[in-house]
């Protein structure tokens, strides 16, 4: 299994441009998440999904959109990039919320700079 795969690894955007960060997992996980990581701030949840066709906002959703048309894929869309969106983005997935399967599996991240 490849686990959680994110593309691209690096990207530079100009202010106002749009892009999609891709995320796919091959573990048949129902739950998927997008986090952003800023220095000293930990990871902040942007959006999450508990299954195909179901998405919900996290702590910092403004400026982002997501979709979940399949179990495997959970792309994150930035419509009008702003410098405040310069960050490292992590996609993660997990099994359903049970007592024994609580581990989040993270991708290797996308480093995004908006200039």
């Amino acid at each position: 299994n490849a686990g959680v795969t994110q593309t691209p690894k690096f990207r530079i955007l100009k202010i106002g441009q749009s892009m999609t960060l891709q995320c796919t997992q091959d573990m048949n996980h129902n739950y998927m998440y997008w986090y952003r990581q800023d220095p000293g701030m930990g990871l902040k949840l942007i959006y999450y999904s508990v299954g195909a066709g179901i998405t919900d906002k996290g702590e910092v959703p403004n400026g982002y959109n997501v979709s979940r048309s399949t179990t495997e894929d959970f792309p994150l869309r930035l419509e009008l990039a702003a410098p405040s969106q310069t960050s490292v983005y992590f996609c993660a997935s997990s099994y359903t919320r049970t007592a024994t399967n609580e581990k989040l599996f993270f991708g290797s991240g996308t480093q995004l700079s908006v200039l």
């Binding site: 959680v4 930990g42 999450y48 919900d56 099994y95 581990k103 989040l104 993270f106």
Partner: protein, 114 residues
Amino acid sequence: QQQVKQSPQSLIVQKGGISIINCAYENTAFDYFPWYQQFPGKGPALLIAIRPDVSEKKEGRFTISFNKSAKQFSLHIMDSQPGDSATYFCAARNNNNAGNMLTFGGGTRLMVKP
């Protein structure tokens, strides 16, 4: 508003020493407390986790101590090694969540000197 506060932000320890990272939380609805380890250029990976019904959990050189009344928990790394140099995140899960998402602390960058 940071619901999980982590300290210190950075830590330097000599090889063989004990590394201690502390976290505090406010929300009594948190029911699961994992620690994640992140190496440069990689995503975080689960290191060890604890539930609030136990006060300590040990896995090899890594131990979580949990104080429910004080709403604090800490990670102890015994016999710290240069290979332990990484960023460590504490986290907590709200048992009222529909999903399995975590609230993370701000992270601690650990450097173990040879």
